[in-house]
């Protein structure tokens, strides 16, 4: 049996201790659940019992519930009892109540009101302990409702002259939390200036809390808190020059106020270097002092001492890197980190590698970082912890430039052979990027990529092998070499499927360049490829089939052999529909088409247009933009700090091939039959398809040809996206369209027959959208019924930016159709064309109408003509929830009339549709049948077209 510790300080709750002890003694999960259920039943009966519970018992049971919840079980009662505890005047009861609420708050609105009430009382109590409990609760819950209730009260408490220090601390951090969750609700005002002055406060605890708050606020609106710079520097200077005794309790293992120092240094990172020279030199002095201290002998052997000291040092280095303006400091920082690279503490080696990564991107310290290359390579080989090795890979990547690229790539490749599986893919991406970026001759590049496939084929993603193909296609000086090299690599008895893909593609395009050699004659090439065929997956087999038909074009002498293969049952009757289709079509094509046509269809791939590297994009997605050292920006730096804030590289390198040929972050066309696609690319669709009668429906299988083709700008009208249209019937705001490049959001408001839509276009990529236009078109019939006027938008949307467009709308008469939003822009050289059905529907012009039961039925009868009523019975598509249904009906625009229908389950509504020409009164009734999961919807209006349309719109919603 477990020892039960003697009840320590404060009051023990014996019943609780016994219960905990019981749980600990349970031998199995089942026994534990049984014990818990027993306890829950007991507590439930106590809470429901006739006898009023005293505060102590209530506290004990609430505490037990909390314990059960923290064990991972669901708790669905006891909230009310916890709320009762809040208003107890016994401190411990109140405290447990608050703890329960903090951990288990749910959005039950009635409770929130009660909780807020209790908090309000405690905040007003002037008892600092109670005030702190209340502030902690607000910070712990941090919900919007709480922010709404207290966001204006807390700043007042924070800056009031008579607030006690400990309450100020809590108020500052409470405000910080609210500002993080609901920044819009925390009002800036006169108090902000006074908060900045808390940096001067005598109480270091207050200064610490205030610094955290100011940093958070300054990140969002730096201009409002500019005055904090000088105060922070003054404070920092006093700390770093103090002797350890000065700060007494705030000295931590002989380090003066390490937490506060870190926070102040962090605050200063919200700003550029101070312009005032005196201030600037004072800060430089501080930073120098911190760097100097790192060289002094430690005052204690305890790890806490060195951790605290180095925490300040690393934060100082972060600030130096952020400012990126003092070459001496940057180089000193780099040397300091260099020392840490060989420190016996793993933690310090880890952090030094990490921090050096950012230093590598400053032009002042890049060279200094490079001097540590051998140490870093050594770390890659000897570190026992994978997370440290990972940092070493990152640093090698960041310090790479043309002078050391070959060495780094070789080291990374050799590390890859033994690297942890978890980081292989990332290393592959990095090697691929570096090899491409710093390739002086492309034979090295091709060799490197093939090596990558050999060593870590499984981790070579599509992006990487697409890329090598794109580069080979774009550079004719490397094509012969590439063909020869893949041919040789394919000789290996077991080669990776990715190599077969690259080999199939490259030989299909450029096999002719090596066909002169009898050792690699067309037939030898074909036999080599085909010997791998049966080992490959379907997509690769599909690619090989495409390579074969290209062979027929390149080498008429092997035509018969290949036709034989295509004609074999294993191809023509292949169970896979994509393969079968290719075999049939290619065979047909090879039999019917003249050599001229074949030559046109299978002409060598045109060069790909230049685009941003998709491999780079993939790496960024993997690492998150902030984590990827910006190896491009370095060369563009002019001593300013811009590059470290820019999440995306500028990609302005002189290498022509840097830009990618196939960004994957763009919508792919639905795959089409391969031949139709290839001909389409060449712009000669009709003759061949007509001739061969090949316009079979597009297959759904993955088509590799499609993947490697550049997506040519499609100038035909795009399909209109209606996907989200019906989601907007009962709501006005949201995202109407999204693909990998662009997000379109809407905010709409309507009054009577007028409406306004704010359309937000968000560029999700890192690249500019150029020639951006967006217009609204309507079908002819609609043009007279609905007038839409679109304001113009800026033709450029920067990467990551959002622009807004306003549409003004007037409803002239009732309508059924919807206008279409046409968006066009150029992304990386390709024209993008998007059309979205705009959710402007008739019900948007509803004005809700209140009416009595009597009025309702009277009008209902008046609208009794058969064409005035439209009725629809339909199956429920969503769970039949009364509240949701109510919300939807209200969102539809009508008034929900209570107590009108004799059956309380039914919903009844009324409204008037406003158009310029007329007003149409409208009554509706929705009868749910939960048993059958069906609804019956009835609409009566004075105009049949209106009834019809409204019924269509609303019946889609349930």
């Amino acid at each position: 049996m477990n020892k039960m510790p003697a009840v320590s300080k404060g009051d023990g709750m014996r019943g609780l201790a016994v219960f905990i002890s019981d749980i600990r003694n349970c031998k199995s999960k089942e026994a534990e659940i049984k014990r818990i259920n027993k306890e829950l039943a007991n507590i439930r009966s106590k809470f429901k019992g006739d006898k009023a519970l005293d505060g102590y018992s209530k506290k004990k049971y609430v505490c037990k519930l909390l314990f059960i919840f923290l064990l991972g079980h669901d708790i669905d009662f006891g909230h009310m009892e916890a709320v009762n505890l809040l208003s107890s005047n016994k401190y411990t009861e109140k405290q447990i109540g608050y703890l329960f609420i903090s951990v288990l708050v749910n959005s039950n609105s009635d409770l929130i009101r009660l909780i807020n009430n209790a908090i309000k009382n405690d905040l007003a109590s002037r008892n600092p302990t109670f005030m702190n409990l209340a502030l902690h609760c607000i910070a712990n819950v941090g919900s919007r409702e709480m922010a709404e209730a207290f966001a204006s009260e807390i700043p007042r408490i924070l800056v009031a002259g008579d607030t006690m220090d400990c309450v100020k601390q809590s108020a500052a951090l409470c405000l910080l939390r609210l500002n993080r969750t609901s920044p819009d609700l925390v009002p800036m005002g006169e108090w902000t200036a006074r908060v900045v002055h808390l940096l001067n406060d005598q109480h270091l605890g207050v200064v610490t809390s205030a610094t955290s708050l100011i940093t958070t606020l300054a990140q969002k609106s730096p201009d409002n808190f500019k005055t904090s710079i000088s105060l922070a520097i003054a404070r920092l200077s006093r700390i770093v020059t103090s002797t350890s005794i000065d700060l007494q309790d705030y000295t931590y293992y002989f380090v003066a106020a390490p937490w506060l120092s870190v926070k102040l240094l962090r605050l200063l990172q919200c700003y550029p270097p101070p312009e005032d020279t005196a201030l600037r030199s004072r800060l430089t002095e501080c930073l120098e002092t911190i760097l100097n201290k790192a060289q002094e002998p430690p005052k204690s052997k305890k790890v806490q001492h060195s951790n605290a000291k180095n925490a300040v040092l690393f934060e100082a280095i972060s600030l130096i890197i952020h400012h990126d303006s003092e070459p001496t400091l940057l180089v000193r920082a780099c040397n300091q980190l260099g020392q840490f690279l060989q420190h016996r503490e793993t933690n310090l080696r880890y952090l030094a590698l990490e921090s050096m990564c950012t230093l590598a991107s400053s032009e002042f310290s890049h060279e200094a970082v490079k001097t540590h290359i051998d140490t870093v390579i050594n770390a890659l080989k000897t570190e026992r912890d994978v997370s440290v090795r990972q940092r070493a890979v990152d640093l090698l990547y960041a310090m790479c430039d043309r002078s050391n690229a070959k060495q780094i790539v070789v080291e990374m490749l050799s590390y890859l052979e033994t690297a942890d599986y978890s980081i292989r893919e990332e290393i592959v991406l990095k090697v691929a990027i570096l090899a491409e970026k710093y390739a002086v001759d492309y034979t090295w590049y091709v060799d490197t990529i093939l090596n990558l496939i050999r060593i870590a084929g499984d981790y070579v993603s599509e992006e990487v092998w697409y890329r090598v193909i794109q580069i080979v296609i774009n550079r004719d000086d490397v094509q012969g070499y590439a063909a020869k090299t893949v041919f040789e690599a394919l000789q290996a008895p077991a080669c990776h499927e990715n190599l077969v893909k690259v080999g199939g593609y490259i030989l299909g395009e450029f096999g002719n360049l090596i066909a002169g050699d009898s050792r690699s004659s067309p037939l030898v090439q074909f036999n080599l490829l085909h010997s791998k065929f049966h080992l490959c997956s379907v997509p690769t087999q599909a690619l090989l089939l495409s390579a074969y038909i290209k062979f027929i074009n390149l080498f008429p002498e092997v035509k018969a052999t290949i036709q034989e293969v295509l004609r074999s049952d294993s191809q023509l009757r292949n169970a896979d529909v994509e393969l079968q289709q290719r075999a049939v079509e290619y065979l047909r094509l090879s039999c019917i088409a003249s050599t001229d046509i074949l030559a046109t269809v299978f002409e060598e791939m045109p060069p790909f247009p230049e685009r941003e590297s998709s491999i780079l994009a993939k790496l960024k997605r993997k690492k998150g933009p902030g984590n990827l050292p910006d190896i491009d920006a370095r060369r563009n730096v002019n001593g300013n700090t811009e590059h470290s804030e820019k999440p995306e590289p500028a990609n302005k390198s002189s290498f022509a091939l840097l830009a990618d040929l196939l960004p994957t972050n763009r919508p792919r066309p639905a795959s089409a039959s391969p031949i139709m696609l290839s001909t389409a690319t060449l712009g000669s669709t009709p003759p061949i398809t007509a001739l061969l009668n090949l316009n079979s429906p597009p297959s759904t299988g993955a088509s590799l040809l499609v993947d490697v083709f550049p997506e040519s700008s499609c100038l035909t009208a795009p399909e209109v996206s209606e996907e989200n249209f019906f989601r907007f019937v009962c709501k006005n705001n949201g995202v109407i369209y999204e693909n990998q490049l662009l997000q379109i959001g809407l905010k709409s408001e309507y009054r009577q027959n007028l409406g306004r839509i704010y359309v937000f276009y968000g560029n999700k990529t890192s690249t500019q959208f150029l020639s951006f236009t967006s217009s609204v078109t309507s079908p002819d019939s609609l043009k007279t019924q609905l007038i839409v006027h679109a304001k113009t938008v800026d033709p450029i949307i920067e990467g990551g930016a959002q622009v807004q467009q306003i549409l003004n709308i007037e409803c002239v008469s009732d309508f059924t159709d919807a206008p279409v939003l046409n968006v066009q822009f150029r992304y990386g050289g390709t024209l993008q064309n998007i059309a979205v059905k705009l959710p402007v529907m008739l019900n948007k012009f509803f004005q809700p109408t209140e009416m009595t039961s009597q009025d309702f039925f009277q009008r209902w009868k008046q609208l009794g003509a058969p064409q005035q009523e439209v009725q629809k019975i339909f199956k429920a598509k969503h769970p039949m929830d009364t509240d949701v249904t109510k919300a939807k009906i209200l969102g539809f625009g009508v008034t929900l009339l209570e107590r009108v229908d004799p059956n309380p389950e039914n919903f009844v509504g009324a409204g008037v549709i406003h158009s310029k020409n007329s007003q149409v009164g409208c009554l509706l009734r929705l009868e749910p049948n939960t048993q059958a999961q069906m609804y019956r919807l009835t609409l009566r209006t004075s105009r049949d077209s209106v009834s019809q349309r409204l019924c269509e719109l609303l019946s889609e919603q349930f």
């Binding site: 320590s8 404060g10 605890g205 937490w259 925490a311 933690n347």
Partner: protein, 153 residues
């Protein structure tokens, strides 16, 4: 700081504190995943690791792992000392703290943490101030508000 977890070598969660709103389901998933990752690490490994979009800082004290998730720009070393200071506070309060103290007095552990960290930021770094606040609270109930011994059922 996004959250702090205390768990035992056996993978039992002893304390959890979340500083951003997180759904219960996600919490459970994250706790499970993170415990697995951390418990699998060997003793001499470094105390930091990248996990999802967060940085994890952890340290083991006897049978308990203290584990903090911090943001990209937060300072790892100072977070290690946040953990240490918290351990010191527990130690001082319970008098040579052990896992059992935290199990049986979990509510106290939460109170101490709340006095020390708020909204994920350190509230007071002075050990004295924090302990004073806690002790005052204890005093408050012993002297002023104690309902009497008969309450111990």
């Amino acid at each position: 700081m996004r959250f702090m977890l205390l768990f035992s070598r056996q993978g039992k969660l002893r304390l959890q504190k979340w500083y951003t709103a997180t759904a219960e389901r996600d919490k459970k998933k994250m706790v499970r995943e993170l415990m697995q990752t951390v418990l699998a690490r060997k003793p001499k490994m470094c105390s930091f690791l990248e996990w999802r979009d967060l940085k994890i800082v952890y340290k083991r004290y006897a049978s308990l792992y203290f584990c903090c998730a911090i943001e990209e720009q937060d300072n790892e070393l100072i977070t290690l000392e946040v953990i240490h200071r918290f351990v010191e506070l527990l130690d001082k309060y319970f008098g040579s703290v052990c896992e059992l103290d935290i199990i049986f007095n979990f509510e106290k552990a939460y109170f101490i943490l709340d006095e020390f960290l708020m909204g994920g930021e350190i509230q007071d770094t002075s050990k004295k101030s924090v302990l004073k606040a806690i002790e005052q609270a204890d005093l408050l109930q012993e002297v002023t508000w104690t309902p009497g011994k008969n309450c111990y059922v």
